[in-house]
Subunit: 393 residues, 2 copies
């Protein structure tokens, strides 16, 4: 009488979340100072002061009946215009507010797109390993198939042979996540160009567009002079899903958007289907307060000091110990190769020392582990000797 | 290549929303003062001052990294405990925080429940006309069938003959919405007892539970000494979906909860399936700020002054003119019988006078119209002569 599928999805906690919950319990037993939790992607940098200021300013100066009202399903007009203008300034584009759909973070944004693009049980969405494990829940939980491309080890760009092999008449979209969770890698312009070349060729061959979903919550989190290509510049059929969870350190507030640009094929149908996809999920509008807050903070960029320091420290020290990983250029993850190739066993051994790092099996890379370094730097300093101990085992 | 089903759902704006958008456009043409918009259910009473105070207090005194972090999917433990304690105080129950799942308003709450209870394309959910039109989108958009019981005219309680006729082996749940949108009627204790009697008998006969989903965003909006029965007291298999949209005038902020009490049959499976249902819709957590805000405002009840005044004025004056309707005891809607029985035509004639009231066809009552009286009282005063004019036509 109960949906077994939903029951399973509700019962099978992700390995990230499982490790995180384990860490919380363990901390109660042996003390917080003895647990080194690198499991979850909760920003360790506070939201900028401007976010708090914006909330207080709104409460003190605006008509709160208006602020607390439903906005239209796609979001407040002024907010959407502000975001479009900001994108246009950054990327030299000509988006309008009407191209944006405000939603409660990237997760429901992606689901709305999947609902729009999954037409029957044969519909395929391609993800590139390593990938964010929730993609599987979002696609399969809504009746489609998630096709995983094997990873391009050790650089974690794209395995193009596998891509070409895996595109067929059921391919509806490919999801691209760069800066990448969990590898920290940014897809180069060269990678994007090659990807787009394949998608264009295959779309033509198949006689239908293969949409590209660009999942970009980490766009602003890049180090040094790394550039994150703006994919719609290269490929018309790109839908961008964005979230302020990481860039403004607001993961708990659930605010983001979907961009469906003008040049997209069958744009009006895609747009309507995304609205429908959000509606059947119970979307009414994104938080009307946080819509206004992000508009007021449109030019604020994250303070990357802690993340950059953490990345440098971890990458340098782990490399010195003999560990191997792709140098993270963005996000706040480092994707470590298990020295003996068995990440699940390595994670278990680490757990015994109080060191919580997620094995990459669910991310499509069973010989790698994800280290979330959105922590205080002291935690890394304390954990390094444990990494050393584990390596010598 | 695009889901036609989602495209249709995304294109077919509800008649409420259509009328509302028309009103906005019309106001630009002929002036706000010439449009009398009774279409949408946006509270006209501001959120209590305590809500603003709570936000400012949190921002000024709490650790904002914590406040802005993801909570667990079910919500913050302290918040859930606070809500459970408040329910226990009000209803003499023994709920725990663990029985509550925090979500982004009643719409995604209902969808999560529907996803849990729709097991295949034959699964049926019963709604009672008049009903909130989005139920149809939520159930059919997620692969189930919505069965509509014809209305119990003129009192808008429940048509029990129709109920008995419509329960079969595919019946998974009945959705009960009292105080009712759109009728404003509250189901009496007698109605609830009869309903429960039927559900118990039929559950036994069929050998499986029929769950009762109680959709209660209007619980606190009742007039005079009207009592809203607490349905779990009468029926173990009740799941309650609650929202603060109306009780705290926060529709745009999207905050509410699902209560899955202990006594429910197969409770652990139902709970897991609801979590799964929310997860596949992209639920990560409800806004962590608003979770805290509602906990701080747990004892605040809405100021009903405007709504009560509006109800009294409308009900008295329209009755005097010769209109017929059930006296609204709750919510902020009055459900008017079209004098000639054709609500769609009546709504069109009203529109020509700038008077926007929604025909009840989509709500299962094509001879009635919904008047949302969550407006300023002056608007009603100005609109009354137009109602009079329409009646004499």
């Amino acid at each position: 009488m109960i949906s077994k599928k939903m029951e399973n999805i509700g019962s099978n906690v992700s390995s990230i979340r499982k490790l995180f919950e384990y860490g919380r319990k363990k901390a109660l037993e042996i003390g917080n100072e003895n647990v080194f939790d690198f499991s979850i992607g909760n920003p360790s940098t506070p939201a900028p002061q401007e976010v708090n200021d914006a909330i207080i300013e709104i409460i003190q100066n605006e008509d709160m009946i208006n602020v607390n009202s439903y906005t239209s399903a796609a979001g407040d007009k002024d907010v959407r215009n502000t975001i479009a203008a900001s994108l246009n300034k950054r990327f030299g584009t000509q988006y309008k507010g009407d191209h944006l759909f405000m939603c409660s973070g990237a997760a429901p944004a992606l689901v709305a797109c999947f609902r729009a693009l999954i037409v029957n049980e044969n519909s395929e969405i391609i993800a590139i390993a390593p990938y964010f494990p929730e993609y599987k829940v979002f696609v399969e939980g809504n009746g489609g198939k998630l096709i995983i491309l094997p990873p391009d080890i050790p650089n974690f760009q794209i395995n193009f042979d596998a891509l070409i092999d895996n595109i067929n008449e059921n391919t509806q979209a490919i999801i691209v996540n760069s800066p990448n969770n969990p590898s920290g890698v940014v897809y180069s312009e060269d990678t994007i160009k090659r990807l787009v070349g394949v998608l264009k060729e295959k779309s033509e061959e198949l006689g239908h567009p293969i949409y590209l979903l660009s999942d970009e919550p980490y766009r602003e989190l890049v180090y040094g002079d790394t550039l994150v290509p703006w994919i719609p510049d290269f490929y018309d059929n790109t839908i961008v899903c964005y979230s302020y969870s990481k860039s403004l350190s607001l993961p708990g507030q659930r605010i983001g958007w979907i961009l469906v640009p003008e040049g997209i094929m069958e744009r009006e149908d895609v747009w309507a289907a995304i609205i429908g996809g959000a509606r059947v999920c119970g979307h009414v509008c994104a938080s009307s307060l946080y819509q206004r807050v992000i508009a007021k903070c449109i030019d604020i960029r994250p303070n990357l000091t802690i993340y950059q320091r953490n990345r440098d420290l971890l990458y340098t020290k782990l490399s010195e110990m003999g560990y191997r990983c792709a140098k993270p250029e963005g996000a706040f993850y480092l994707f470590l190769q298990a020295p003996d190739g068995d990440a699940a066993a390595f994670s278990e051994r680490a757990k015994e020392l109080g060191l919580l790092i997620t094995p990459g099996g669910e991310m499509g890379c069973p010989s790698y582990l994800r280290i979330s370094y959105c922590v205080q730097t002291e935690q890394i300093e304390c954990a390094l000797p444990l990494f050393k101990k584990l390596f010598s085992k």
